[in-house]
């Protein structure tokens, strides 16, 4: 296997052990996150290998991977910036934030990532932070009440190699690191 070998294979075993043996297929979502943490997106190899691990076809894995927006099946930047433009955020000016995110990162509309490979920009549906609109996530970490000026600062910080402190919880410094946490493989800091 090209993706799931060595330590990654051991991580996959940890994930599969969460579910009853007869229902191992339930592990597909976390395995996709694991693959994404290793390769920066979900590759064809990963789809095939997850199928082998779970005893299902590549097509069945791809059917799942393509259904959900948090799996990236195409080339992806080091950082994924998600801007909510759903109604609660739109009413507080989110559309200007989304435009500013494109401008600051240099990601053209319709493009997967910026030319320098640093950024991917997503327009998001409700992120569940309507109390601090406009809501933005950088690598799935929340930044509250982000206006156009603030998104430009955040992007400039990321370019300079800084990891911005989120509004709550720890910072994940890249899309890959966040994907590993999403696979349930991160130590949680104590309360």
């Amino acid at each position: 296997m090209a993706v799931f070998e060595g330590a990654v294979r051991e991580d996959a075993d940890v994930i599969m052990a969460r579910y009853p043996d007869a229902h191992r297929r339930s592990a597909v979502m976390a395995l996709l996150y694991l693959a994404q943490s290793v390769e920066g997106s979900v590759t064809r190899d990963a789809l095939r290998e997850i199928g082998v691990l779970l005893g299902i076809t590549t097509a069945e894995v791809e059917a799942v991977a393509s259904f959900y927006t948090m799996y990236r099946l195409r080339p992806t930047g080091t950082h994924v910036i998600s801007v909510c433009t759903n109604l609660a955020c739109k009413l507080r000016g989110a559309e200007a934030v989304y435009e500013a995110a494109h401008e600051a990162t240099g990601v053209a509309h319709g493009a997967e990532l910026s030319d320098d490979g640093l950024f991917t920009v997503h327009e998001e549906e409700c992120l569940g932070v309507c109390d601090f609109a406009p809501a933005v996530q950088i690598n799935f970490c929340n930044h509250d009440t982000v206006g156009p000026e603030r998104i430009r600062e955040l992007v400039a910080g990321l370019r300079a190699g800084e990891v911005p402190s989120p509004a709550r919880g720890p910072a994940f410094g890249s899309f890959r690191a966040a994907s590993r946490a999403l696979a349930g493989l991160e130590e949680v800091p104590s309360a």
Partner: protein, 432 residues
Amino acid sequence: MSLAFEPRLTRDWDDPSVIGIDGYVAKGGYQGLTKALAMADTDIVEVVKSSGLRGRGGAGFPAGMKWGFVPRHTGQPTYVVVNFDESEPGTCNNRELVERDPHRLLEGTAIAALAIGCETAYLYVRGEYLWQSLVLERAIAEAYAAGHLGPDVQGSGKRVDAVLHRGAGAYICGEETALLNSLEGLRGQPRLRPPFPAVEGLFASPTVINNVETLMNVPDIVVRGADWFRELGTEKSPGTKMVTVSGKVERPGNFEVPLGTPFRVVLEELAGGVLGGRTLKAWTPGGSSTPMLTAGHLDVGLDYESLAEAGSMLGTAAIMVMDDTDCVVDCATRMVRFYAHESCGKCTPCREGSWWATRVLERLEDGQGKPADLPIMHDLGTNLTFRAFCALADGTAAVINSSLQHFPDEYEAHVRLGGCPLKVEHLEEVPA
């Protein structure tokens, strides 16, 4: 009317120590579980039934009745599934409940498990709630270490395991049968009912699926009883409800109120009124899937019955406020675009209807609308209602039908003027 009551779900929100298990236990936490362990499973179901607790996720189905549908002692495993997929636009109270008081959810979940004889509970957390899922993972580890979860819950010999499962960005997975498919490693598409999940749910076994807020009410109901629970709220909608207020208000946020509290009180006393002292134009009572209401509905009570009477629904009690500078057609466009994006594609009326409605709304807003577009919108609204497998299409129809019903002049003006009559930028409140 002013709002004076003893908070329940939010009573420890000013005490960050309850996030950890020691702080939670110091406040009386896990005593509901202790009491439930000494009760017959049917008595746990009974007290929740008598409390009148209704599902807080949107549908309002009585929680005790849901638990009562699970066949008992069949030899088959049973499952509790916690629906923490909170994705209804405008809703974020489950997020804050878990951030501030995660053990109350675990305690409610464990009690639900005892009530239906379940040994494994799954907590389905939307992927975007990464931090909140970590908070829960930590709380689960603490609860195992303290013996409130695991093979021998509080020394009773009963097993309750908790497994956290992350979603990956799909609104439809909040629909309970879509959630089950997602949990089984399939695309998150809804299932045909019957069979209902109570009979054939997760892994084809009897399953109870409850919303986060619903379960967080359970420990107090077990400790203090059904009569205590009914001291707040209305007869048919007992208890309190978390509401999320967002959009054009001075103080957006999550607030706990007794069910039946008038919208006016929530808007003026809790959310500080309309932003900048402007005029209320429209509001959603329970997320974008519930028909929008107007300034004429300020005194409607926030409970299942009063909102139904006003032509809408309590939904998730997510109140999004639009003021007189907001264009209803523009807002409806954004809401309908959401449903087009989130339609799972299974049913034609939803998949095609939401896509076409978005196209028509966009051209109205862009000034390309034709007089024939208004009957088209009416037609789409009618043909989306109750024509699809699940309620997602009904949410789309709710936006279309209610905006047409309450703001017909605004639609007509878009056609007559060849564009949006409110196309003025109001950006002064946008944060820098």
